[in-house]
Amino acid sequence: MMQQPDNEAELDAVEMDGPILGAPQSFWASARERFRKNQVNMIALRFLLFLVTVALLADFIAYDKPLICKLDGVVEFPLFGDYLSDLGLYKRPVERIHQDWRQAKYDWAIWPLVRYKANQIDYDNQRLTGPFAVQRMSSWKWRHFLGTGRDGRDVLSGLIHGTRIALTIGFIAMGIAGFIGIILGAVAGFWGDERWQLHLGGILFGILGLILGFFYGFQVRSYVLRDALVNGAASFLGQLLLSFLIMIGVTVLFVQFSKLFKRVPILGKRYNVWVDIIISRVIEIKTAIPTILLIITIMSLVEKKNIYFVMVIIGLLGWMGVARFMKGEMLRTRSMAYIEAARSMGLSEVRILFRHAIPNSLTPVLIVLTFGIAGAISLEASLSFLGIGVPDDVVTWGGMLREARSSQSAWWLAVFPGLAIFLTVTALNLVGEGLRDVLDPRLRHE
């Protein structure tokens, strides 16, 4: 366990703080125990697990084809067939391509709970069919349990598939934001404004390296990046990462090179690098610009709507909270005895930061990350509600609520997606609060 104290002094401290009952408990075990004690935390956590399950199994719960069926004397797996043919591993026989799965005469069939895909249009029940209204269908098995939208899309299926999108957005956006925030916050907190000194040559070469790195990473590759953007978010993110690596690589190369000049009189003089001031300014700049406005404006630059792009943007703009929190953590960590010990052993500062300081300060960041996921989900929902960034054929909770705007008598379009967003955000916030109670070192003395 990475949380296990590294030296004797720490071990003593833990034993003094914690309950002195038998064997010393690990930090995680005691945290877990305290988290479990709170009934509300556990309900929220279970609900989140339920959502994750729904997101993972969305196709098995709501789909327009049977899971397994016997058709014309042959046992078939239409859903898996779809999966495989998406992967290019399976070619559906010609007579099955235009198969009407709904009308087919099965010997037997196992259907998903909801027999509609999220963006599938039911032509018999268009124009807002309510959940309790008379629905035109052959059997109750085909009912739209939560009604339909204007063009006959099933609300329940939309909710189920929307879960997948909401959670993906939350996790990917916060993954990106967490990565950036943890590193920048840790650097700002660990080195502050005085602790990182560089000789003048290193600073000058570093700036030069940054400029050249920007040139080789972004200027030279600007068209590669643009083409990647057209190809989709994954390739864009990859190319963006590559660009950053080039930029950082060039900078590091230059700084290393400058070490040759350490003994030159003026260039060798050491100065503080104001890491904290620089990063804090960046955070301040970002705080001054309302996030939703900035995202909306950036989205207006993209001509083709893409959901992954929304995730990346939310992530790239959402790291400030994590950074601020991490900085606070790092301010505590950096004065710990084991950091001093590592330093006295002659480990390099970078190694101490990445191998010791960051891993030992990570746990409380879970709190901000959890709140962050809730925020990202709610932000994405507002964006889709405004019709920004999410393509029209992707069914999201926010998008369904958007439909309620133009069809006011359809209460089910407002209530169910609204409830889904509310419950998810609440559960995440509750888990966040619970984590704060057990993990935040600042609260432990109370």
Partner: protein
Amino acid sequence: MLKYILRRLLVLTPTLLAILLITFVISRNTPGDPVYRELDAQFREGSHVTPERKDQEYARVSHARGYDLPTFYVSLTSLAYPDTLHRVLDLSDRANLAEMVSIYGNWESIVSYYRQLKKGLLRIRSHKMPPDQKDSILEAQVTIEQLLKVAKRPEIEYRLQILETLSQSVPLLVDSMQSEFYGIQGSFGAVLETQSTWKNYVPTLHFHGLHNQFHQWLMGVLRLDFGRSYSDGKRPVFTLIKEALPWTMVMGFFSFVLSYMIAIPLGVYGVRKRNQWQDRTVTISLFLLHSIPSFVAAMLVMTFLCNPAYLQLFPTTGLSSDGAELWPLGYRLVDYAHHLTLPILIFSYGGVTFVSRQMRGGMMESIQSDYVRTARAKGLSEHTVVWRHVVRNSILPILTHLAGLFPALVAGGVITESIFSIPGMGLLTIGALGSYDHPVTIGVLTLTASATLFGIFVTDILTAWADPRISFVEA
């Protein structure tokens, strides 16, 4: 104190410049040709205007808006990149030339290839078109137009191939255009032959002086000139903002007063009943309220309270009822209030939860402090202790959140105003976004960000002034 203010100002300036730089970068990357969008409709669609006249008008707008200037004070480009590219007026030509330079790296050959293309285009546009060959000639024209927009080798070669086939198969083109087509092909061949890709990996720095787009834009912003809207009669963006701002301010003012009026007593109540069921109920309800995104709440409220099918207590959208302009002032105010009640409520509940949580947290801390114990020891009643001592000391940190109020106003407004159709800043932004009216979006963004920064500055000064414990020395 003066020293502190000056120091803060000193820190503020680079931040403001950075924000302006960010918005500038965004504004220069908006899709579409801004000069073209700014042209009057007659120059865009009118067929009675000659091409020369159109070009003149394009050049005029382009010059007036500074699009014929270099982008920034300095530019870091590759050796291959010509420092005169900004003089190419047509922005799509400029972009494509830049991309070609980044691929082939030989500016001179690329320019002569481009000249050939333009010449060919002129020729074929004035070409006579007998009905039987019209389609082929039009196809040739479209192909040349496309050639002006592509830079990659396969895409160019594919179109050159089409031109070649056309020039051989269409009798009219064989006579008149073949030399042009060969010219185009030849010049592209020259581009390929003289490729100097290495030049793209050699960085060069150019200095452009004050005569650049950013400087011009910055000076404009400092004079509150954010350009003109594309639509809406080409009115100045600042005028549009000035018209929208009062409504956002009205909403903001009322919801601000409302949320503090509810939140502070709630926070105090929670502290007085701390760890009892009342406190817990308040905390939990606030927590739940905090988890409802405002647009969800707005949609629910609209569905159930503004809907003839359920309860129609409030009007759905807009500021006033039809024909309200003729009513006496009193009626009109009531009508406004009727329309604004729900938006303001939706707008404020987020603030209520936030402020009262802050309030409760701050008071919980100060209620354990020494001066409270002293006050109790003096025999003051709990009421006096809480209101006179604890609240007073806990309100200051809450006031610092005022700085965040303005961005919160606009951000919250984006959603609330667009749902309830209140013509404030938020609706302005969303509307501009829908019609791709980029100057408006960017004007709002720039103004909001700058105002927020200014708000942070003022709050810092006020806090420092009100709380002598904050050191003036440390900035």
